[in-house]
């Protein structure tokens, strides 16, 4: 139930703080999403969407961390 799906903001149609809204693409499927909880998110950003609300803006740099972590582990092991 805490399922949240990443999508990309295509456009923002309403900028008032309480009802901020926009169109978000989920790998091609587009839905109207409430953006009131992510006031900092702009067009082009990726957000996590849960029950019709963007709940968090995804950080592109941090998104690579999993892969660099894996390389780090393997390097450490190789050095041992």
């Amino acid at each position: 139930m805490c399922l949240a799906v990443p999508g990309q903001i295509l456009s923002i149609s309403d900028e008032s703080p309480l009802t901020r809204r926009g169109r978000v693409s989920f790998g091609g499927t587009v839905r109207e999403v409430c953006l009131a909880l992510v006031p900092e998110a702009v067009v082009g950003d990726h957000v996590l969407v849960h029950v019709g609300f963007a709940i968090s803006k995804l950080n592109e740099d941090e998104a690579q961390r999993v892969f660099s972590y894996l390389r780090q582990i393997e390097d450490q092991e190789a050095r041992r």
Binding site: M1, L18, T19, C34, H50, N59, L70
Partner: protein, 361 residues
């Protein structure tokens, strides 16, 4: 899809699983808190990749599963009133109450509608001014700001035929209950990533310290879960007990401030009872006095029925990580998703349903 497919990359999954296998030198038991993670673990067969000495326990993080029978009965009683339109997430419909489910109530004529978002329920209230629209507000901290937003907007806009049947629960008190149990078997936790996008990580610091337990905030894809496990095991092997963040692409330490503000505006912390587990102090959210007018239990003066869970179902033990679904005598025989005895067999995130779906052979 971006932010999904790359975290399912098979070669990386295998490499990370191998690193994890090499890192384990003792017996460890780790619990994933969230039902979404349980589902991913069983679906992608992650448990089959784990070293023998690392055991996974499935946790209580399925809000549908822990919603008390009594509240489901209340939802049904409300839905049976001619003036009420009961709106719910689809997952709740098949969950058994003491006699009925919302699904069977609907077959008997109740107006029960599945909504995707709390805002859909609010919209319905504005479209049906002659009816009473009640939203069955189930969920953890991830969902709480969305229902809070719906009520907040209802009050701002003067939508008076909208109310909430609230069953919001909080994760940290459940972790406390698991760790304080004399039968504690958990050495470390994968904390629920989406709950932490809202609340941040600070709440888990005192738990990690007091109970000497590593807690790693973790995402939901195979690589996330394996990395989370690797981080927990590394802490355990090194004798550390800290809060770490694997899911940093979505979770910042302070969480989502805007979401916290709206929760704070609308809800306060209250005791809640958890299906199969019992009452836990300070473990849920209820509407603040300012918003009492939007509380369906008050508006319709609902009485507690005092009913109990089916005796045969052992979902409480499953939710506390003390029984594997397949070890329940009713699993797959008297209890199936078509004829569930307990909520953990219904919800797409319930551990019993995940095992039934992916692990019957």
């Amino acid at each position: 899809m971006r932010f999904v497919d790359e975290y399912r990359h098979e070669h990386s999954v295998v490499r990370l699983a191998e690193a994890l296998r090499r890192s384990v030198t003792r017996d460890w038991t780790v619990m994933e808190v969230c039902g979404g993670q349980t589902h991913a673990i069983v679906r992608f067969g992650i448990d089959a990749l784990l070293p023998e000495r690392l055991q996974l326990l499935h946790g209580p993080g399925c809000p549908v599963c822990v919603t008390p029978v009594e509240l489901i009965d209340k939802a049904i009683a409300l839905a049976m009133r001619p003036e009420v339109v009961l709106c719910s997430f689809g997952d709740m419909l098949r969950v058994p109450g003491s006699r009925d489910s919302l699904m069977t109530a609907r077959a008997r004529g109740a107006d029960v509608r599945i909504v995707y978002s709390p805002l859909d329920a609010l919209r319905l209230a504005t479209e049906l001014p002659g009816r009473e629209v009640v939203f069955f507000a189930v969920g953890f901290e991830t969902t709480a700001p969305t229902t809070a937003m719906a009520v907040y907007q209802a009050r701002q806009r003067g939508v008076h035929n909208f109310s909430l049947l609230v069953s919001h629960v909080l994760v940290p008190p459940a972790l406390e209950a698991i760790l304080s149990s004399p039968e504690r078997r958990v050495d470390g936790f994968l904390a629920a990533g989406h709950v932490c996008t809202i609340m941040g990580t600070a709440q888990y610091e005192p738990i990690a310290r007091q109970h000497r337990v590593p807690i790693v905030v973790t995402g939901f894809e195979p690589l996330d879960i394996l990395q989370g496990l690797y981080m927990v095991v590394r802490q355990l092997e090194e004798g550390r007990a800290e809060v770490e963040n694997q899911y940093s692409r979505a979770v910042v330490p302070g969480g989502n401030r805007r979401a916290q503000e709206i929760i704070e505006e609308v809800f306060c912390v209250v005791p809640r009872s958890w299906r199969g587990i019992g009452s836990l102090p300070q473990s849920g959210l209820g509407l603040r006095p300012d918003y009492a007018a939007f509380d369906a239990e008050r508006r319709f003066a609902l009485e507690a029925s005092g009913v109990q869970e089916d005796k045969e179902c052992q979902s409480g033990l499953v939710l506390m990580g003390r029984l594997r679904p397949v070890d329940c005598p009713a699993f797959g025989t008297r209890c199936t998703p078509e004829h569930p005895l307990g909520a953990t067999m219904v919800s797409s995130e319930g551990a019993c349903a995940a095992y039934y779906r992916y692990r019957r052979a």
